[in-house]
Subunit: 204 residues, 2 copies
DNA sequence: CGCGTCCCTTACCGGGCGGTAAAGTTTTAC
DNA sequence: GTAAAACTTTACCGCCCGGTAAGGGACGCG
C-alpha cells in the first residue's frame, strides 16, 4: 500500500522520535536526560535514533529546530485587527499559550526554557535561538510601529518597546516554570497593562 | 602555629572547593560538568570533596547557597538617599554588577542563571532560589513604597511594580548570557527609564 | 613519646552511558 | 519474482563517571 497513513516513512519515525524526546526531556530534565529515556517513551527501540540522527548532539540540534518550528507555527493572530487588539492578542498568546491553558503547553514551555538556557554553551543552538528570538521580537515591534503610524500609539522607540515587552514575557514564563509561580503570567499581564501599555496610548 | 593564615582549616578548604566548583561550572556548563573538573581547578585532589561534602548533590546544594550568599552580600546601596536615587542604584547594580563591569561578574552571572534554570528539577534548589528571588524583589518593592509615602512616586501597586522591574532585569541578564546580547542590560535600562519609571514620577 | 584526630592522597571499582555491528524484516523498484 | 534499499532489532562493547577503601602525614594533647 502506498497510503501515507499506513506506511511508515522516515519522516513519521523522526516525528515519533521528536515527540518521545520531548516527553523524556520533560520528565527527566536536560541534565538527567539519557538516550535510553527516549526509547522508553516510544514503541521503537532507542537504537533507531542512530539510524535517523547522527548521535546525541545531532539529535538535540534537530529537536531544537523542531521545538522552535512548533512554537512559531502555533502563533495565530488576526493581523487585520487594530494594533492594540493585535498587540494584546500576541502578548496573551506568549504568556498563556495558543489556546488558553491548552493541555501540555507548560510542559512544552518548560523544555523550551531549559533548552534556551543550555544554548549558551553551544554556538549552533545559540544561533537558532537568537534567530527565533529575533522573529518573536520583530513581530511585536511591527505591531507597535503600525500602531504609531495609525496614530493609536505615541511615537515611542518601537524597537525598545518591543524588546521590553518580549523580555517581560520571557521573564514571567521563566519565573512560573523555574520557581513555580503559577500567577506570574497574569501578574506580568497586569503590570504590562498598568505600567507600560498605559503610557503607550496616544491620548495623554 | 595557630596562625589562621597558615593552618588549613576545613572552612578554608571548603571555600577553595567552592571557588574551584565555580570555575569548573563556568568553563564546562552545568550539563557537562564533572566532579573531576573541580579537581583540575584546584591544588587538591578531587577526592577531598567527598570528605567535606556528601556526594555531588550535597555539593551542589552547598554551592547554590554559596552563590546566593555571595550575590546578596555584594549588594551595596546607600539607603538614606532619596527613593529615586536608591531605585536607580539598585537597578544598575542588578544590571551591571556591583562595581561597574567588575571582572568576572558575568562569569558569575552565567553560572547563577544556569543554576536558576536547573533548579526547576530540584525542590530544595528551587526553594533556595525562591527565597532569594523574594528578597531581591522585596528590596525593590520597599524602595517603591518609600517613594510613594514620600510623595515622590505615584500611588501605584508597589508589589506589581517591584515584580515588573525584577523581571525585566532578570530577562535582560538572561538574554545577555544565553544569547550573547551584550547591550541587553543597557537596553533594559533605557526601556525602564523611558517606559516604566517615567510614568512612576508623581508629577503628571 | 605515643596515640587519636583531622585532613588529604593514591589506587581502585562497579555501573551505566552513548554508540556500533550485524542480523532480521519490511518496502520499493524493475 | 526477486534483488536491492530502507528501516528496525538484538546483542554487545569500551569508556568514563561518581564513589569508596585504605593509608599517610601533620597537629594536638596526655
Amino acid at each position: 500500500m502506498s497510503d501515507p497513513g499506513e506506511t511508515v516513512s522516515a519522516k513519521d519515525t523522526e516525528d515519533v522520535i521528536m515527540e518521545a524526546t520531548f516527553r523524556a526531556l520533560s520528565e527527566h530534565g536536560y541534565t538527567d536526560f539519557r538516550m535510553r529515556d527516549i526509547g522508553e517513551e516510544m514503541d521503537l527501540t532507542r537504537q533507531v535514533i542512530h539510524y535517523h540522527f547522527d548521535g546525541k548532539h545531532d539529535l538535540m540540534s534537530s529537536f531544537l529546530e523542531y521545538v522552535i518550528d512548533q512554537y512559531e507555527g502555533s502563533v495565530e493572530v488576526e493581523e487585520d485587527a487594530d494594533p492594540r487588539t493585535e498587540l494584546d492578542a500576541r502578548i496573551d498568546q506568549c504568556l498563556f499559550g495558543p489556546e488558553f491553558e491548552e493541555f501540555g503547553h507548560w510542559d512544552r514551555m518548560k523544555v523550551y526554557h531549559e533548552l534556551y538556557t543550555y544554548a549558551q554553551n553551544d554556538d549552533d543552538h545559540r544561533a537558532l535561538f537568537d534567530d527565533h528570538y529575533d522573529r518573536i521580537r520583530g513581530s511585536v515591534v511591527e505591531v507597535v510601529e503600525r500602531g504609531i503610524e495609525e496614530g493609536e500609539f505615541r511615537a515611542v522607540d518601537a524597537e525598545l518597546m518591543g524588546q521590553l515587552l518580549t523580555d517581560v514575557i520571557h521573564a514571567a514564563r521563566g519565573r512560573r516554570i523555574a520557581l513555580g509561580h503559577e500567577d506570574a503570567p497574569e501578574q506580568a499581564r497586569r503590570a504590562i497593562d498598568e505600567f507600560v501599555l498605559d503610557s503607550l496610548s496616544a491620548d495623554d
